[in-house]
C-alpha cells in the first residue's frame, strides 16, 4: 500500500468518524445539521461562563505549588484520563463489532496491518479531538487570564488522549483473548462505565469514611494525602508541570503518549483484523437456554410482561447501566451505613441521589420497553388494544424500578421513616415522569439502537434529565425546607406539562 493510498484511507476513516458523530448529534436527520452546528457553537461559547466560574480564579497560578494543590490538579488530570479511557474503550469495542466495511477491506488488495494501524490511529485521534474540543473553553479562560503559557494544556490533553486510546486498544484486545468476543462486548461496556465513574466514587467513599462528607475534595486536600504524596521531582507530577507550561515535561509527556500508542499499534494492528472478524461473526454463536420448562398460562398482559422482563434480563445495556446506577449508589449507601452509628445530617443527601438514579434508570428502561420493540408488527397485529399493550410495558418499567430501589428505601426506613417515605414517593414520581416522557416521545426502533435514544429527541433528553433533577431537588427540600419543595415541585410539574405540550401528537 502506497503512502498516498494510506493518506486516502486515513482521510476516509476521519470522514466516517465525523459522519458518525454528526449522525449521532442530528439523529440521522440531514435538515438538523445546520441547527446542530449553530447549537454546538453557541453551547461552546456558553460553556466559557461555567469554565470561568470554575477555573478563572486559578489563571494566575504558577509553579511551585503546595502538595495539596499538586494532588488536586493531578487527580483532575487523572479523572480526565479515566473518562477518556472509558470513551476510548467504547469506541474500540464499537469498531470491532461494526461489520460494515470489514468484508470490503479484507477482500481488497491492501496490507491489512497498515490499514488497521490507521484505523487504530483514527480511534486515538477521535478520542483526543473530542477531549480537546471539550477542554477548549477551560483553556481559553486560562489563556485569557494567565497568558499563552496555558496553551501547553492542549499538549497535555493530547498526550493523555493518546495514552488513553493506547490503553483502551490493548485492554479490549486482551479481553478478546481472555474471555472471547461474546463476553468482551458486555465486559467492555461495564468496564468503560466503571472506569468513568470509579475514580470519583472511590474518592467519595474515602471522604465519607474519613470525614463523613460526600465531597471528594476532602480526601484529596487532607494532610494524610499530602503525607503520602511523592517528592516534588517525581514523574507523578509531570502532567502538572506540563500543564503549567514546563516545555521539557510537556515534550516528555507527549513522547510517552506517542510511544505508547505506537507500541500498541505495532503489537496489535495485526491482531485487529482477526479480532474484528471474530467479533462480527462469532459474537452471536449459539447461546442455549439450559431449562426446558413448559409454556406458562396467564393473561395476554402477563405474556407481554413476561416477555419484557425476560428481554430486560438479557439486555447487556441494562445490566451495565444498572451496575452504573449501583456504583453511584455505593457512596450514599456507605453514608447510610455510617449514619447508623452517628446522627450525621449528611444522610439527607441520600434521598436526591436515589431519586435521581431512579428517574434516569426509568428513562432508559422506558425507552427499551416502549420504543425499543424488535417485533413491532407482531405486537401490533396481536389481538390486544394498543392501550393495554402500552400499559403492560409501563407496568414492567415501574415493577423493575420498584424491585431495584425497594431495598434502599427499606434500609432507609430503619434510619429515618420520614425520609424513607419521602424517598419512596420521590422514586415513584421521578420514575413515572421519566416513563411518561418516553411515552410521549416514543419512536419505533430496535433495542440495539439504544445509543441513538438521546439524539432522536433533544427535548425528551433534556426534559428527562431536568425532571429527574427537579424531583431529586424536591425530595431533599421536602425533608429540609418544605415550602421550597412546593416551589420546585410546581416548577418540575410545569416542565412536564410543557414537555407534554411540545411532544409529537399521538393517534
Amino acid at each position: 500500500m502506497t503512502a498516498a493510498a494510506l493518506n486516502w484511507f486515513a482521510s476516509h476513516e476521519i470522514r466516517l468518524a465525523w459522519r458518525e458523530w454528526l449522525g449521532m448529534m442530528t439523529g440521522g436527520r440531514q435538515r438538523r445539521r445546520r441547527a446542530v452546528i449553530i447549537g454546538l457553537v453557541v453551547f461552546g461559547a456558553l460553556l466559557h461562563v461555567p469554565a470561568y466560574a470554575v477555573i478563572g480564579r486559578y489563571a494566575t497560578l504558577r509553579l511551585p505549588l503546595d502538595k495539596s494543590a499538586m494532588i488536586v490538579i493531578t487527580a483532575s488530570i487523572f479523572l480526565a484520563w479515566a473518562l477518556m479511557l472509558s470513551q476510548a474503550i467504547e469506541s474500540v469495542t464499537r469498531a470491532f463489532y461494526a461489520r460494515a466495511d470489514l468484508d470490503l477491506i479484507m477482500s481488497s488488495p491492501v496490507t491489512l496491518d497498515r490499514v488497521f494501524s490507521i484505523r487504530l490511529a483514527a480511534i486515538a485521534l477521535t478520542v483526543t479531538a473530542m477531549a480537546m474540543l471539550l477542554a477548549t473553553p477551560f483553556i481559553d479562560v486560562l489563556v485569557f487570564g494567565g497568558g499563552l503559557r496555558w496553551l501547553a494544556l492542549y499538549g497535555v490533553v493530547m498526550a493523555i488522549g493518546l495514552s488513553a486510546a493506547a490503553v483502551a486498544i490493548a485492554v479490549t484486545i486482551l479481553l478478546f483473548r481472555a474471555i472471547g468476543p461474546r463476553r468482551t462486548r458486555f465486559v467492555a461496556q461495564v468496564l468503560a462505565a466503571a472506569i468513568g465513574a470509579g475514580f470519583v466514587i472511590a474518592l467519595q467513599i474515602a471522604a465519607i469514611l474519613s470525614y463523613g462528607t460526600l465531597s471528594r475534595f476532602a480526601a484529596l486536600t487532607s494532610d494524610a494525602a499530602a503525607s503520602y504524596a511523592p517528592a516534588p521531582e517525581s514523574i507523578v507530577w509531570w502532567p502538572v508541570h506540563a500543564a503549567f507550561g514546563d516545555g521539557r515535561a510537556l515534550l516528555l509527556l507527549l513522547a510517552c503518549g506517542f510511544f505508547l500508542l505506537g507500541t500498541v499499534m505495532v503489537i496489535f494492528s495485526a491482531e485487529f483484523a482477526d479480532t474484528a472478524v471474530r467479533a462480527s461473526t462469532g459474537v452471536v454463536a449459539n447461546r442455549r437456554t439450559s431449562h426446558t420448562r413448559s409454556f406458562r398460562s396467564g393473561s395476554r398482559q402477563q405474556a407481554l410482561r413476561r416477555k419484557e422482563l425476560l428481554l430486560l434480563r438479557r439486555d447487556p445495556w441494562l445490566l451495565s447501566q444498572s451496575l452504573m446506577q449501583l456504583l453511584y449508589l455505593i457512596p450514599p449507601a456507605v453514608l447510610l451505613w455510617r449514619s447508623f452509628n452517628d446522627s450525621s445530617l449528611a444522610i439527607v443527601l441520600i434521598t436526591p441521589v436515589i431519586v435521581m438514579a431512579a428517574g434516569q434508570l426509568a428513562g432508559g428502561l422506558g425507552w427499551l420497553t416502549i420504543s425499543g420493540e424488535d417485533a413491532p408488527d407482531l405486537v401490533k397485529t396481536g389481538p390486544l388494544p394498543p392501550s393495554r399493550l402500552i400499559r403492560a410495558k409501563i407496568e414492567v418499567v415501574l415493577l423493575v424500578i420498584g424491585a431495584l430501589f425497594a431495598p434502599l428505601v427499606i434500609a432507609l426506613l430503619f434510619a429515618s421513616p420520614r425520609q424513607a417515605a419521602v424517598t419512596a414517593v420521590g422514586v415513584m414520581i421521578a420514575a413515572t415522569s421519566a416513563t411518561a416522557i418516553q411515552l410521549w416521545f416514543r419512536v419505533q426502533a430496535r433495542r440495539s439502537q439504544f445509543r441513538r435514544r438521546q439524539t432522536s429527541s433533544r427535548l425528551a433528553t433534556f426534559a428527562e434529565a431536568f425532571s429527574s433533577i427537579g424531583w431529586a431537588a424536591t425530595s431533599v427540600l421536602a425533608l429540609s425546607l418544605p415550602v421550597a419543595a412546593l416551589v420546585t415541585g410546581l416548577m418540575t410539574t410545569a416542565l412536564l406539562a410543557a414537555t407534554w405540550k411540545f411532544s409529537p401528537r399521538r393517534d
Binding site: T289, R296, L310
Partner: protein, 250 residues
C-alpha cells in the same frame, strides 16, 4: 378447499402517502383459498396487506375478515389473522420456543394446546436442533422460519404473508410451501405476495395482479392466460403483459 364464503373483502380501500399507494381497491378472497397477490415494486401490495393486518389505517374503504369489520372491531379481526412480513422481526434474545410461547400467550392460546403445536411446528420447519438457541445467531432464513412458526402457532383462519420465501434455501422453501398447502387443505385461507412467479403459478388457486394501487387482473392461471389472449404462455409472460399495459408504477 375454497368455499363461496369470503375470508377477506376489501371495498374501496384507499391509502395515500405523497401519492395514492392503494387506490379504491376492491378485492375478495374466498375462504379456504390460496391467493397470490402479484405486482411490480411499489404497486401497493404491501400497503394493502399491512392495512388488512391492522398495521396501517386506511384513508377510506372497508375491510371485512371472515365477516368481521376489521376497522370497527380490530381486536376480533386480529384474533383470527396472522401476518408475516418479508423482513422477519423476532426477538434476538429469545429462543424460538420462548418466542412461540410469547405469541401463543399474546393470542390467549391455552398453553396445553400451544406447546405441542409449537414444538411440532419447529420440528416441521427443521428448527428442532435450534429450539433452545437464542435467535441472535440465526441466519435470515432461520429467522423467517421462526416468524412463520409464530404466525401459525395460534391457528389463524387467515394467513397474510409478504414475500415469505425471501432468503430461504430450496429445502426450507419447500418446507414452508408444504406447510402452507397443508393449512389451506385444512380450510385456512392464505394470501401471499411473491416475486417468485413460479410459486404463484404452482400453489395459488387464484392470482390477483395489482399495479398503481389498483387490481388490474384476477383469476386462475387459465383465466389470466385467457384474458391475455394466449393459452400457452407462462405466468411471467402474462404478468409482464398486464403490468406493461398499466401506467408505470412509481
Amino acid at each position: 378447499m375454497a368455499s363461496d364464503r369470503s375470508a377477506l373483502e376489501l371495498r374501496g380501500l384507499t391509502k395515500r402517502f405523497d401519492r395514492p399507494a392503494v387506490d379504491a381497491l376492491d378485492l375478495t378472497v374466498r375462504s379456504g383459498e390460496f391467493y397470490a397477490l402479484l405486482g411490480p415494486n411499489g404497486a401497493g401490495k404491501t400497503t394493502t396487506l399491512r392495512m388488512v393486518a391492522g398495521l396501517l389505517r386506511p384513508d377510506a374503504g372497508s375491510i371485512s375478515i371472515l365477516g368481521i369489520d376489521a376497522l370497527a372491531d380490530p381486536v376480533a379481526a386480529k384474533q383470527v389473522t396472522a401476518w408475516v412480513s418479508d423482513e422477519p422481526m423476532i426477538y434476538d434474545k429469545l429462543t424460538p420456543l420462548e418466542y412461540l410461547e410469547f405469541v401463543a400467550g399474546l393470542w390467549g392460546i391455552d398453553p396445553a394446546v400451544a406447546e405441542p403445536c409449537a414444538r411440532e411446528l419447529l420440528v416441521s420447519l427443521g428448527l428442532e436442533a435450534n429450539m433452545h438457541d437464542r435467535c441472535e445467531g440465526f441466519s435470515k432464513g432461520m429467522r423467517q422460519k421462526v416468524a412463520l412458526a409464530g404466525a401459525l402457532v395460534h391457528d389463524p383462519r387467515l394467513i397474510i404473508l409478504d414475500e415469505p420465501l425471501t432468503g430461504l434455501d430450496a429445502l426450507s422453501a419447500r418446507h414452508v410451501k408444504s406447510l402452507l398447502s397443508e393449512r389451506v387443505r385444512n380450510g385456512c385461507t392464505v394470501i401471499m405476495t411473491t416475486h417468485i412467479l413460479e410459486v404463484a403459478e404452482r400453489m395459488a388457486d387464484r392470482i390477483g395482479v395489482i399495479a398503481a394501487g389498483r387490481l388490474v387482473a384476477e383469476g386462475t392461471l387459465a383465466e389470466l392466460r385467457q384474458q391475455n389472449g394466449r393459452t400457452d404462455t407462462s405466468l411471467e409472460d402474462v404478468f409482464v403483459a398486464l403490468v406493461d399495459r398499466e401506467p408505470a408504477a412509481a
